[in-house]
Structure formats: C-alpha cells, structure tokens
C-alpha cells in the first residue's frame, strides 16, 4: 500500500528522535513509494528498479539532514528518485553511445524479445558467423564490458573503427535474429 504523506512525516519525526522502528517504517514506506515510481518508468528492467530504490534509500540515509520538515516528504523523495532516474538514463545512454548507435540499439531491442536462457548459446552461434573483427569488438565491448578505447588498444585499431564494427556487427546480429524468429 502506498504510504501517506502524514505517515512518512510522522515516521521521520520519530526516527529523528531515535526511534528505530519508526526509521524502519520510514525506509520501507520510501521503498514502496520509489518502487511504484520506478516500475512505471523502467518497464521490464526489474534489476534496475531494485538498484534505483536502493540508491534512493542510501541517499535518504546519508543525507537525511537536507530534508526541510516544513516541506512535503513525498515531494522530497520524488525529487531524489527523479534525480537518480535521470542519472541512470544518463549512464545507460553514455555506455550505449560508447558501443553502438541508437539505430542499432533499437534494431537489437526490436529483435531481442527472446528468453535469457536461449540467448547466450544462440547469440554465440550467430556471433561466430560475423567477420573476424566484428566478432572481436562485439565480444570485447558487448560481452566482456571493455570500453571502446580499451577494445581499440587491444585490437590495435582506432576507436572509430571499433564503433563502426560494433554498429555493423549489432546490425547483422539483429537481422539474423529477426530471420531466425
């Protein structure tokens, strides 16, 4: 159940006086509030929803003093949650831009409505059909988590070439996945 403004406010007031139970109720209330907020905005990204909730709880724990008791606590929590959500998308976009263009990401997203269990082996089989350099960059950047720069150094090619090979490779994978559906 969504906690009310008054409940959370009371819990915080009691928690500030040293009431541990009230503090637990406060954190659980905030957790439920942020869960609801994040689930609506990160559809299908359950792990990220959980991370976002935990980030907000940590911020509330560490920076509780920044809350002004004369303001609504739900608005304060939403401001923090919104900030963390924007930060999440910023980081996600930056990582994605490092490796692939929006176009190929969308293509892959369209094609990737497949179960995780079958993904790994199927993807591995498809990757082996790609040209050698495309295979290498996709393995390094997309599967092993290397940055574009690191992959470029390892393969002794330019970062732009890594981006191009990643883009082409992802596009081919997406096409093959579509054809296999």
């Amino acid at each position: 159940m969504k906690p009310s403004e008054t409940d959370l406010h009371d819990c915080l007031t009691l928690a500030r006086l040293g009431d541990d139970d009230a503090y637990r109720r406060l954190l659980e209330g905030i957790s439920s509030l942020v869960h609801k907020y994040a689930r609506r905005r990160l559809i299908g990204l359950d792990a990220d929803v959980e991370d976002l909730v935990q980030d907000v709880l940590l911020a509330v724990h560490l920076k509780q003093h920044t809350y002004d008791v004369s303001r609504p606590i739900t608005a304060w929590v939403h401001t923090i949650a919104r900030y963390k959500l924007v930060d999440f998308w910023r980081l996600k976009t930056r990582r994605a831009e490092d490796a692939l263009s929006t176009e190929s990401a969308e293509a892959l997203a369209d094609a990737s409505n497949i179960h995780a269990s079958e993904t790994t082996s199927e993807l591995e089989a498809l990757i082996t059909q790609l040209p050698r350099l495309q295979q290498a960059v996709i393995r390094l950047v997309k599967l092993q988590g290397y940055s574009v720069q690191e992959a470029a150094t390892r393969l002794q090619i330019s970062p732009s070439a890594v981006k191009v090979y990643t883009h082409r490779g992802i596009k081919k994978l997406a096409e093959q996945l579509r054809a296999n559906r």
């Binding site: 541990d20 503090y23 954190l27 935990q54 560490l62 304060w76 401001t79």
Partner: protein
Amino acid sequence: MKTQALINFLCKNHAQTSTAAPIRTGTLTAVLVSSSIGLLIFLYGWQIVDDITAPPFVTGYALKATFGLATALLAMRAWPALLNSNLPSKAEAVRLALIGLPVALMLFGVFAVSQVTWGPALSWRNGIACVASILLISLPIWAVLIWQGRQGLPTRLRLTGFVGGLVASGFGVPIFALSCAETSPAYIAVWYGVAVVATGTLGAMAAPRLLRW
C-alpha cells in the same frame, strides 16, 4: 543486495544518520573565509591602484562593489534551496529570477538612461584581462561553495554551479576592483557583467562532474 537486506542494514546503522541541520546557514562564513583566500591571491598577483582616494576611482569602485555584492547577496539567498533537494517554491523561483536584477539594472542604467561613452567599453585587452582576473580571484570562493554543495543533496547541478559562480564572482568583483582603474560606467556594465556571467557559466559547466552523488 536485496532491498530488504539493505533496509535491515541501514536500520542497524540508524545512529549514524546525519543529524546536521539543513544547509541554510554557514554560507556567509564559508564565502568570507574563501574571499580572504581570493584577497591573498589578489595581493600576490595584482597591484592596488596608486590613488585609491581619487574621486573618479571612488565613484567607479562604489559602482563595481555595489554591483558585485548585490549579485552575490541575491545569489546567496537562492543558494540553500539548491542544496537541499526540495522542490522549488514560488519564493525560490522569484529569488532565482532576482539574481539577474543587478546586471539588468546596470545595463539599463548605462545604455538607456545615461549618455554612453563607448570608447573604454570597447577596450578588449583591458576587458578580457578584467574578466580573467575576476575568474581567478573567484575560484577559491567557488571551490568552497562547491565543497559545501557536496555536503547537501543538489539535484539541479548546472543551476547550482551557475549560482555558485555568481556568488563567487560577486565577491571577487570588489576585490579585483581595487586594481582596476577603469571608471567608465559603460566599461563596468559590459566587462564586469561579462565577468560575472562567465564565472557562472564556467561554474555551470564544471558543477555536474563535481556535485554528482
């Protein structure tokens, strides 16, 4: 870690939550202390004008100092709300809008009311030196404000950096003005205005990296 496990962990450490008051006070002290560092930098690298009591200099200095301090004080009024992660109220929005008032008033005063003498205002070399000097002198003040910002929970990072830059340059202006012999209102309006806005802009550019939490 599961969220419930995190909640259990945080509850065990409830005693360690910060009980400090919201950041409302302390900014003036922080700014005054860091201004003294700015003053030391100024005394090391710049020279105070020879005739500090000459009437044209006194008038020019008064205009510069009033402009700088008015900008700084108005920006300081908006500062705490930016650090406490609370949604901006109407009053805060008004406070933010008011920061632009000194620049607007000075530009209006110089260009709309008085007869402008463009000569000194077009002195690029002096103007750029003036802007760079104010930036350098303001840097320690801005750094202290950003340090203070890191104790808070700012969510509008660029705006926070910009307002921090306006506070810093506002205090940097009266320090630098001790060495600036230019007294033309047009020069002051253009170059001191540019210096304040440039410091704010650089602050806005650097703040996201420094304030992110």
